[in-house]
């Protein structure tokens, strides 16, 4: 009896977690992949580990610490590269490792054993709380509303910022809001896939989508679908095989990407052959 309740809870958690992770990762992922911000996002993710460490040390919720760190590092990269003229990729590299270093130092200083550390690094469904799921759900709603209402404005700014600046006074406002939302999305998904792996959860689905479609809107839809299949299947497999969730999800997503890539190449070949025969 008790076991079936636990199983039920696990399924609900897994299902809701997969849905919300897919929506947030699909929306944010399409943006960062289209705008070539994957490395920046990877930097933000790792820098946020500093917040997790400080959270452990001070007893504040580590996710909250990570959220603060991720937004600060996103704005920090902007500050260092634009105002201090440090190359952007170097600025990312500095903050990336700096955040990790802070995290490790504070976790080391925290008295006693830190049992959840591995779950932050590599993700684990077992440690995902209802609060985490609710937070991801709220984030999904925020992102859908934000990208839904401002779809074209965001699209135009990220396609051609220089041009957008001549036409709109809101370019910087949009850039900062979008980057902050993406930083928060990453942090909330760390609970699902872990610091080390979460960037792939955002990056692989849009790349699967781009095999089939070239329009931004369709890429979002396909990304969410691909991310859902990947996370849900990854969950199920990790549960039954008893292997880490985050790693299984990423492995499943890469497998889908590979199959999609091969399939599209085969169909392209067939099409070419047909054209030649005509």
């Amino acid at each position: 009896m008790e076991e079936s309740i636990l199983q039920y809870e696990f399924i609900i958690k897994g299902l809701l977690g997969s849905i919300f992770a897919s929506i947030t990762a699909g929306l944010a992922g399409t943006y960062i992949v289209s705008k070539r911000m994957v490395f920046l996002s990877g930097g933000i993710t790792h820098a946020s580990f500093g917040g997790i460490g400080i959270g452990y040390f001070t007893g504040i919720n580590p996710v909250l610490g990570a959220a603060v760190f991720s937004i600060l590092s996103a704005l920090g990269v902007e500050y260092l590269s634009v105002k201090q003229k440090i190359r952007e990729d170097s600025a990312i590299g500095i903050l990336w490792a700096f955040g990790m270093a802070i995290g490790i130092i504070f976790i080391y200083l925290t008295p006693g054993y830190t049992p959840n550390l591995m779950s932050y690094l590599f993700g684990s469904i077992l440690t995902v709380t209802s609060a985490d799921i609710i937070a991801l759900g709220v984030m999904s709603v925020i992102l859908i509303l934000y990208f839904g209402i401002f779809y074209r404005t965001i699209l135009y700014i990220s396609f051609d910022e220089v041009f957008a600046r001549t036409y709109s006074p809101y370019v910087d406002v949009f850039k900062y809001i979008t980057t902050s939302l993406i930083a928060l999305t990453i942090v909330l998904n760390i609970r699902m896939a872990g610091v080390v792996l979460v960037i792939s959860l955002l990056t692989i689905p849009p790349n699967i989508a781009m095999i089939f479609t070239k329009s931004y809107f369709n890429i979002v839809i396909w990304s969410v679908a691909a991310a859902f299949i990947g996370t849900a299947a990854g969950y199920a497999i990790s549960f039954f095989a008893g292997i880490p969730t985050g790693a299984t999800i990423i492995f499943t997503l890469v497998l889908i990407w590979l199959i999609a890539k091969i399939l599209s190449q085969i169909t392209n070949k067939v099409k070419q052959e047909n054209n030649r025969n005509i």
Binding site: S34, K35, R36, T153, L155, F159, D160, E161, V162, Y170
Partner: protein
């Protein structure tokens, strides 16, 4: 008397301590078609940036006609590099983005906006590419898409930054014809280093080399350029300048 679209009075602009434009007096009227020429680093692009509001002048006055301020403002065709052509947007998306200024915060496109975009795309000769991604287009086709973006809002003033840079030969004549037609409804300011090619299409010159000298004719000689302190070489100046001056 044609209406003045904007006026610059003893305007200076600089990047930090580096003064790029100094004491510029310049007026542009409707139906003007001005070729902006001058050496590299002479301030041609800076002039456009000031007009677009991307760079604040450090001194002097820039006043716009009411219609430009409130209405459709300014159409702008930048040098190609600013948009990422691998970005997942279609030709129609890019043309529609030229309406962004009117939409304010929320850019929702109405059916009439979409019709307008289709009409512009048709006019530019790209109807079969309406829903294509940009990376499938040739340089000349891209040029036309960006021109479409610049003119969809029916601007009174069109700024072109080195449009000759990525026009393919087939489209070049067509492109300048298109500009001639557009010139009936908007003033055009065209930055170019290729004096020979543009002199056949423009009405007047503005020579920019820190200072701006307005030359109220499409004919310009080396002596005049020297007098304007505008060191660019004119090879020759025949009856039909664009054929004589064409690169060989």
């Amino acid at each position: 008397m044609a209406e003045c679209l904007f006026e610059m009075r003893s305007l200076s602009a600089s990047y930090g301590a580096d003064i790029v434009l100094q004491d510029v007096d310049f007026r542009v009227y409707e139906n003007d078609f001005i070729g902006v020429i001058g050496p590299n680093g002479g301030g041609k692009t800076t002039l456009l940036k000031v007009i677009l509001g991307l760079l604040k002048p450090v001194k002097g006055i820039l006043t716009f006609n009411q219609e430009i301020l409130t209405g459709n403002k300014i159409g702008y065709l930048p040098q190609i590099s600013t948009g990422d052509i691998n970005y997942p947007v279609t030709v129609k998306d890019v043309v529609l983005s030229g309406l962004m200024i009117r939409k304010g915060l929320i850019s929702i496109m109405s059916p009439s906006d979409r019709n307008k975009a289709d009409q512009i795309i048709e006019e530019l000769g790209l109807p079969e590419l309406t829903n294509s991604p940009l990376n499938q287009l040739s340089g000349g086709q891209l040029q036309r898409v960006f021109l479409g973006r610049a003119i969809i809002g029916d601007p009174k003033l069109l700024l072109l930054d080195e449009p000759g840079n990525f026009v393919d030969a087939n489209f070049e004549i067509d492109f300048y014809d298109k500009l001639r037609i557009l010139n009936r409804r908007m003033a055009i300011l065209m930055v170019s280093h290729d004096v020979g090619t543009i002199s056949a299409h423009i009405k007047t010159f503005a020579c920019v080399n820190r200072h701006l000298h307005y030359h109220p004719s499409a004919e310009i000689t080396n002596e005049q350029l020297m007098a304007y302190n505008c060191p660019i070489q004119l090879i020759t100046h025949g009856e039909v300048p664009h054929t004589v001056l064409k690169k060989h």
